[in-house]
């Protein structure tokens, strides 16, 4: 269907575009307004653009402390996840043995299990281990969703890569694991990048466990910190929108930098048709 877009298509693009744009536009203009223009003297466009909301959320609310927390949690659990998941996905896909299909089923099972069920036992474990109010509690428990997800994605990706090259490397004297590290991983790099980005993003965005496990403001991750500001004092929306913008930057930049990998990784793994 490569004929130019007709009138109905133009209308669909415009309507969907307006729907997508309006909330985003509202976030951006609010973040760049001073309180007077937000609350007393509304305007559809910031008449006197101001960085005061960013200054307040960074200086008064110390948002970068929370951004750092989110970063530590997401980066650490992503690194651990990718290392473990790559080995497991390799084992399931390349070393076909009894039990590997069973592993795949277990992964799918977790993938679909509600956090609202698991948060209770995980909360008890975290308390018993004395990890309440620590970032370690999040790094540890985030593996519960990131490992199944990353393993699933990588399994899909590895499956799409022919095994000949690894077999060739093994004939040339590589060990099985050596062939994986030297031959398979470099070819599968886009899939690994995609899995890492998804894992990082999912950890960055996680809300329920971070809400339950941590109640010290200086240890909260960004989502919980910003959500806590809603119920705080009255004139917070400028700061919240500035904070929302700041906390979106890392994941949006990651996504668009690696869009090519993400789309191919997603196509190979999650929604393989």
């Amino acid at each position: 269907m490569s004929r130019g877009a007709g009138l109905p298509s133009v209308i669909v693009v415009l309507v969907l575009g307006l729907f997508v744009a309006l909330p985003l536009y509202n976030m951006v203009i609010t973040a760049f307004k001073a309180d007077r223009e937000i609350y007393d003297d509304f305007s559809y466009f910031p008449r006197q653009p101001s960085l005061v909301q960013f200054q307040r959320v960074i200086v008064n609310e110390r948002l970068f402390v929370n951004i750092r927390n989110s970063f530590v949690v997401a980066a650490t659990s992503t690194a651990a996840t990718i290392a473990m998941s790559a080995l497991a996905a390799f084992a399931v896909v390349r070393l076909r043995f009894r039990g590997s299909a069973w592993v795949a089923r277990l992964i799918l099972f977790k993938y679909l299990l509600p956090t609202s069920l698991l948060y209770i036992p995980l909360f008890i474990v975290v308390n018993n281990l004395g990890l309440a109010n620590t970032l370690q509690s999040l790094i540890f428990t985030y593996l519960s969703f990131s490992i199944p997800f990353a393993t699933w994605l990588l399994m899909g990706y590895f499956r799409g890569i022919p095994a000949d090259l690894e077999e060739q490397a093994m004939i040339d004297g590589c060990s099985r694991v050596g062939a994986m590290v030297r031959v398979l991983l470099p070819i599968a790099a886009p899939g690994v990048v995609a899995a890492a980005i998804f894992t990082f993003t999912a950890s960055w965005n996680e809300f329920l466990l971070a809400l339950v496990f941590i109640n010290r403001v200086d240890l909260q991750t960004v989502p919980v910190k910003l959500a806590g500001m809603i119920v705080g004092d009255q004139y917070v929306w400028g700061m919240i929108m500035a904070g929302a913008l700041l906390s979106s930057v890392p994941v949006v930049v990651l996504y668009f930098l690696a869009q090519r990998f993400v789309v191919s990784g997603l196509a190979a793994g999650a929604v393989r048709a």
């Binding site: 997508v20 473990m84 592993v103 997603l266």
Partner: protein, 284 residues
């Protein structure tokens, strides 16, 4: 064989500790009166009896179903519209595609905070715009009016996740051979016939997988309601996930809190079995 199990060990240990054991424990807790710092004693089916007979649980179940069914249907329609227009070639298509993906790429909590602010009855842009356009003469209380709260939550959720449908359907459309459309054009099929007899059957599998995955995720979603309404007003948007959170963390009654999702599990289980069947068939 030995190597296989060795490579799998780290993942299996983590899954056992963080998924299998907690899952079993959660079910056990649902049969006890456990609280934080208190071991908990076996109470049989008391939690289930109490939960099932509580109007709040039935309300939350109904709300979860409404939220899920309505969201999935609207996401399906908008996602299909997005995929169909982006499948055509026009100038700036990549830009439009990247733009449409933004709501899905943004962190979910950011999306829901944006909408909460957009809906604000006093200073929200939506009310200013509707008043200025003459659509309404009074500011609308989108989230604090019991009859509009749920639709408002659904709209915000659809905004956030319809691009995922669009992206998946777009990938599916690219797998439909162009010859089929050319042959149909020769036979004089109109746009509706092409959609009905070529596009839809070609996308059947993608649609099934996306709808089922998304149904489960939507049903289990916590953030949209927590961040937009907190379940209010007067439980008009209380969903089962938020109820389980409230019972456990606010009321500190872990046994009852666990009983809520355990009661939901059979429904989810049926979905999951059907889904894994579909996905495995797709693998062959």
């Amino acid at each position: 064989m030995v190597l296989g199990w060795t490579l799998l060990t780290p993942v299996l240990v983590v899954m056992a500790a963080l998924v299998v054991w907690p899952f079993a424990t959660a079910i056990w807790i649902a049969f006890t009166d456990k609280a934080i710092g208190y071991q908990g004693a076996w109470v049989g089916l008391a939690n289930f009896a109490e939960v099932i007979s509580s109007p709040r649980f039935l309300r939350s179940l109904r709300n979860s179903l409404t939220f899920t069914v309505a969201s999935v249907l609207v996401k399906l329609v908008l996602g299909m519209a997005m995929a169909l227009v982006l499948h055509q070639t026009f100038r700036g298509r990549n830009l439009v595609r990247a733009f449409f993906l933004i709501p899905w790429v943004l962190p979910a909590f950011v999306g829901y905070m944006i909408w909460r602010w957009l809906y604000d009855p006093l200073q929200g842009l939506l009310n200013y715009a509707l008043l200025d356009l003459g659509v309404t003469r009074y500011p609308l209380e989108f989230l604090s009016n019991p009859s509009t709260a749920m639709p408002s939550v659904i709209v915000a959720h659809v905004w956030r996740s319809f691009p995922f449908y669009g992206l998946a359907f777009l990938a599916g459309l690219q797998n439909i051979p162009a010859e089929q459309y050319e042959a149909a054009a020769v036979d004089g099929a109109n746009a509706w016939h092409r959609f009905r007899y070529i596009t839809l059957p070609g996308l059947r599998h993608v649609i099934l997988v996306v709808v089922m995955l998304s149904t489960i995720w939507t049903f289990n979603a916590f953030e949209p309601v927590y961040l937009l309404t907190g379940g209010g007003p007067a439980d008009a948007t209380m969903v089962y996930t938020l109820l389980a959170y409230e019972m456990g963390i606010v009321n500190m009654r872990l046994g009852q809190a666990a009983a809520v999702p355990v009661l939901i599990l059979p429904v989810l289980g049926m979905f999951i079995v059907a889904l894994s069947g579909l996905m495995n068939r797709g693998d062959e």
